[in-house]
């Protein structure tokens, strides 16, 4: 069955996707909230920047991130100055890159969910003595909960599936940056088709189950009062 190397790659992949999802919940929620509610003119440019990873080739995104995080890039200079070294070819470098790469998959479903909640429930909450922050956590978040679930699932799954950015930023270090998709690539390169088949099947089933969960979920999220 799966080799130790395969299992290590799967574990690394899940850890990466889990951490990225948590970080994006913290970063993506305020961005989505702002995009859903602002009337500022720069809503459109910000929205476009957030959506960029949807259309950019992963190699382009990876290339810029590599430059930025490298020893001569601004991010690299910063991480070196705080004694963290440089990020490329480390697990945390992958985390940072994946946060950018998966950003739209968190922000866009959340933005849609917040827009669907609308102004009214928050106005009602204000007339019932709830401060804006109170209303956000007790009204907006519960009402947008289906959006949070689908955004998290999409972000997690999308991070599991990334390949190009990983190659650019992380290379292929076992236990550090060799995630499942890279491991499959290695198997194929080494003409180990049997191993490639097994790991690919795992990824296929995983992706299908994730999408199935999402599609089963959707109808129930459309209830309203």
């Amino acid at each position: 069955m799966l080799s130790d190397g395969d299992l290590q790659a799967i574990w690394l992949t899940l850890r990466l996707a889990g951490i990225v999802t948590l970080i994006l919940l913290l970063i993506g929620t305020p961005i989505a909230w702002w995009l859903a509610r602002t009337r500022a003119w720069w809503k459109a440019p910000v929205g476009a920047v957030v959506a960029l990873p949807l259309v950019l080739p992963p190699s382009v995104l990876g290339f810029y991130l590599l430059l930025a995080m490298g020893p001569n890039g601004p991010v690299g200079a910063f991480t070196q100055s705080i004694g963290f070294g440089t990020l490329p070819f480390t697990f945390w470098g992958l985390v940072v890159a994946s946060v950018f790469y998966s950003l739209p998959f968190m922000v866009q479903p959340l933005q849609t969910a917040f827009e669907a909640v609308g102004d009214r429930p928050l106005e009602v909450a204000a007339t019932l003595r709830a401060s804006p922050i109170d209303a956000f956590f007790t009204v907006a978040v519960p009402l947008a909960l289906p959006g949070f679930l689908s955004a998290s699932i999409l972000t997690f799954a999308h991070t599991v599936g990334e390949f190009g950015v990983v190659l650019m930023i992380g290379g292929n270090i076992p236990g550090q940056t060799r995630v499942a998709s890279v491991q499959i690539y290695d198997h194929v390169e080494a003409l180990e088709y049997m191993h490639a088949h097994q790991l690919a099947a795992v990824m296929l089933v995983f992706s299908f189950v994730v999408l199935l969960v999402l599609y089963v979920w959707r109808p129930s999220s459309k209830k309203g009062a």
Partner: protein, 356 residues
Amino acid sequence: MSNFKAKFHVEWPGFTLDVDLNLPERGVTALFGHSGSGKTTLLRCIAGLERAKQGYLSFKGEVWQDETTWLPTHQRPLGYVFQEASLFSHLSVLGNLRYGLKRTSDIRNPALDQAVELLGIGHLLDRKPAHLSGGERQRVGIARALAVAPRILLMDEPLAALDLKRKQEILPYLERLHDELDIPVLYVSHSPDEVARLADHIVVMDGGKVVTRGPLVETMARLDLPIRLGQDAGVVLDAIVAERDETWHLARVEFAGGSLWTRDHHLAVGHRVRVRIQASDVSLATQPQEHSSILNLLSGVVDAISDDEHPGLALVRVRVGESNLIARLTKRSVTALAIVPGLPIWVQVKSVALME
């Protein structure tokens, strides 16, 4: 004079709100006008849901807004009922009712119990909003606003989203509010019926400005104003059921100055009612008409005459005791009967609409 002052100037593309009002501190005040007249915007400015750049608002000695102060909505001691009930769909009815209660500093639980009792929603507390009818939802919405023990209640067309049957279901509850609540209520409406039934005072708005304001009964009896509750001019009178005639299914209601027969609505003697009499249902005669089908004959004195919208018609106000009635006549009749202010006259009232 008044402790409730609202002054706002709001300018949006194509709309200007410009009001400067002293509002009554008790009873139900209707903000009445067509859609786009600014009545909802005024209410939202008072609630702090809309922020007028220039404005002054004080309520019972507290300044809610001036050049330097702006109290956010959640710090204003008000209750607000929206046009759609806007219940929180993730909470049960009880959860909705408790939402505001938990956030009020003085936990006066009676407010919740009273609100539940007043709106008759005790049997719904465990339900989710999705499982309520439209009328039930709005009753919960009103109870939720009352549960925070507000010092003023703002209602933005609470019945407008409901069909006629649901309206009839809720109106009695609103009348109970009127009778039992001792806080001022601002009630936005474009419905003449609701205003005539519920309001003590009226503020008529048009194009973002206040056209007229005053006690409802007096304001309705003014001839010089373009206030039309519905298509027709008419007056509203406060009255009491004085007598019931079981044989003919009629009831006699007494108002300040006389009494009128109307269809019996099975209301007990002594019950306070409002009656609305449209100008087109009133005719005048210089002699008492003995052979007439019309039951209601009152004696009064002509008070004022003014032109109606149509060049052939006039509105004549007649003083009956302490009350006023308005009759719509042709100008030809006014001339033929030589109707002038001060003339004693007989008033025939063909139809009286009773509002419980």
